[in-house]
Amino acid sequence: MNLKTFPGGLHPPDSKHSAANAIEICPLPEELVIPMSQHIGAPADACVAVGDLVKKGQVIANAKGFVSVPIHASSSGEVIAVEPRLHPMGKALPSVVIKPDGEDCWDESLQGSDPANLSADELKNLIRDAGIVGMGGATFPAHVKLSPPEDKKIEILIINGVECEPFLTADHRLMLEESERILDGIDILRKVLGIERAVIGIEANKPDAIEKLTREGATRKIEVQALEVKYPQGAEKQLIDAITGRQVPSGTLPMEVGVVVQNVGTAAAVSDAIRLGRPLVERVATVTGPGINQPKNLLIRIGTPLSLMVEQCGGLNGDPAKIIMGGPMMGQTQLSLDIPAIRGTSGLLIFRKQDLPKLETGPCIRCGRCITACPIHLQPTTIAAYARLDMVDEAEDYHALDCIECGCCTYICPATLPLVQSIRHIKGGIMAKKRTI
């Protein structure tokens, strides 16, 4: 097989224990906590009040601005609270709490339509109204990526089925079980962008998914590109480099090189939004890690508490010491299991104390491994040194803002220095300075 890749990166242990487990449906929780900020951009505005009865798929919050999306009820029931609740970000943020009635009935006004009868703009509006965001974890509103300015000509649609984060298998299972929806979604996305060429990028550790999509995609002229198993192969700019050989210039978006990237989960959600008229109210998430008894791939409603997901997977195996939402490399550590799953929850990882490395930070030994591993070709150790000294201008000169926070530098560092954490901190400092000037 001809495997493509990008320079840099590294090979963390795969640990995809749940790859063979079919997607299971997670039952309805006691209450669904649906936060108003589940996407990059302005939080949505709640438009329901306590006591309202809502149907599954009904809008409960309106988008605020262009880079924002509406939020929908993920089951039918009664709104019991509109208040700040603990969010995966670690703070109490505005949320709508729904007590499900157990009927789980869809809003009847939601009607599907044939994409062949709709124009590109109509499709785009439907995608926005369905609240679709990037399902890989970054949750960037999908309609924004599908609206390139006039002067940017899009040539290739890349569908991200790489799933390079260790442990996660949600996209893998989705490709095996829901390939029809994914391919249909790709057709719709191609129509919105008005282009022909679509390439699905998949890492070579998922040969069954590569085989299946190659076979089924052939009739629709959708290409599949097998990629070398390497982290962060699924990062947007690295994926574009691997598949097209084009490098996205510093400080610009993929549309600069004529590419739009969407996740396989996003493509499947687009298909549902158009064909069935169903908004984004559920997603597939992998629940795994050494602290979980039976790793599984679950179809969860947005707002399901993490504790129910754990319960559904045979409960905890020992005391949890680290709870991560997302993958182990870029996921976000959580304060407790009483936090709701959101649109970007691609996985839930639980580690016990004995699974975690003992970190004894030492001085930088100038080995340069972080520089070799950095997929953006930055000098993480230099930027981190500036971050420690709060030297904002110097860090900016070393292109700290181009860092994608993939964590390769911290992973590879033999002195276990918090490199990516430092760079992330100074990025905040650079942005704050830019805002004040």
Binding site: M89, G90, K91, T333, L335, L359, A384, A387, R388, P418, Q421, S422, H425, G428
Partner: protein, 282 residues
């Protein structure tokens, strides 16, 4: 050999003469007062006056663009010297000292999570509002220690910032970098402080800190002039601080400390000597 010595020596003499003439002819007029003021400034370049360094401040004072009493590190003595050089009357403010209003080190206050990132309070504060369960407590990662130009701040082994009352000059650099606003400027002669920065209600404070103020108002009942309670947090009224020390023993959580008896637990600073300015007696 002789020719070499003579010619090199000759060049040296000619060049020295040229330089001497140039130094006289092109000399830049410097106000002698500027040099004199620079001489009496502490030379820490801390920025407390609002200018980048002592040189800039000396110039600004002579120009009249900056007041002569802005050097807090130098204290009253420096202000008087500057005033004397300028031939004006010295107007000095009461000396101030920074105090960390927290005693909840890692042994006494509970953590919300274990923080493993960059050793910097501002970086830690961005992650779920900091690792301490208390929303106002000192994070003890040393951001203030690093910015202090006078080495007046230390972090105890259990992770609590403590400020030396002798080394602190009141430049306020630490105040601006602390993400939790737990450092406060207080009069130097006031040695009794309520070392807590949490406005939460008592039962909640008890849950996460052994030495937090629970807003029980016992101090205010016993010394009504010296304490006020705002949002479940007691505070010393510094105008009447001399009465504040009387209720020390009555505080149930021992969150009131008289610094003249020593610094919080774990600090390596020796107990402070008598304040520079004696407590006022009405």
């Amino acid at each position: 050999m002789l020719a070499a010595i003579l010619s090199l020596g000759g060049i040296g003499l000619v060049a020295a003469a040229a330089l001497g003439v140039a130094a006289k002819k092109f000399a830049v007029e410097v106000d002698p007062r500027e040099a004199a003021i620079l001489e009496v400034l502490p030379g820490a370049n801390c920025g407390a006056c609002g200018l980048p360094g002592c040189g800039g401040y000396a110039k600004a004072v002579v120009n009249g663009t900056f007041a002569p009493n802005l050097c807090t590190p130098g204290g009253a003595e420096t202000v008087e010297k500057i005033a004397h050089i300028l031939g004006v009357e010295a107007i000095t403010a009461d000396p101030k000292v920074a105090v960390v209003l927290c005693q909840g080190d890692n042994g006494k206050a509970t953590e919300k999570y274990r923080y493993l990132g960059l050793e910097d309070c501002n970086a830690a504060q961005k992650i779920a509002d900091g690792p301490k369960a208390c929303p106002g407590g000192c994070l003890g990662l040393g951001t203030c220690e690093r910015v202090c130009p006078f080495g007046a701040i230390e972090i105890t082994p259990d992770g609590l910032a403590v400020i030396s009352r002798e080394k602190c000059t009141g430049c306020e650099k630490c105040i601006s970098v602390c993400p939790r606003k737990v450092i406060r400027m207080t009069p130097l002669d006031a040695t009794t402080h309520v070392l807590c920065n949490s406005h939460d209600k008592g039962p909640l404070v008890r849950k996460y800190c052994q030495v937090g103020c629970i807003g029980c108002t016992i101090c205010k009942k016993n010394a009504p002039d010296a304490y006020k309670i705002e949002n479940f947090l007691a505070e010393v009224i510094y105008e009447h601080h001399s009465e504040a020390a009387e209720v020390l023993e009555k505080c149930p959580t021992k969150c009131i400390r008289d610094f003249s008896t020593g610094y919080p637990e774990g600090s390596s600073f020796p107990p402070p000597t008598v304040p520079v300015k004696p407590a006022q007696v009405d």
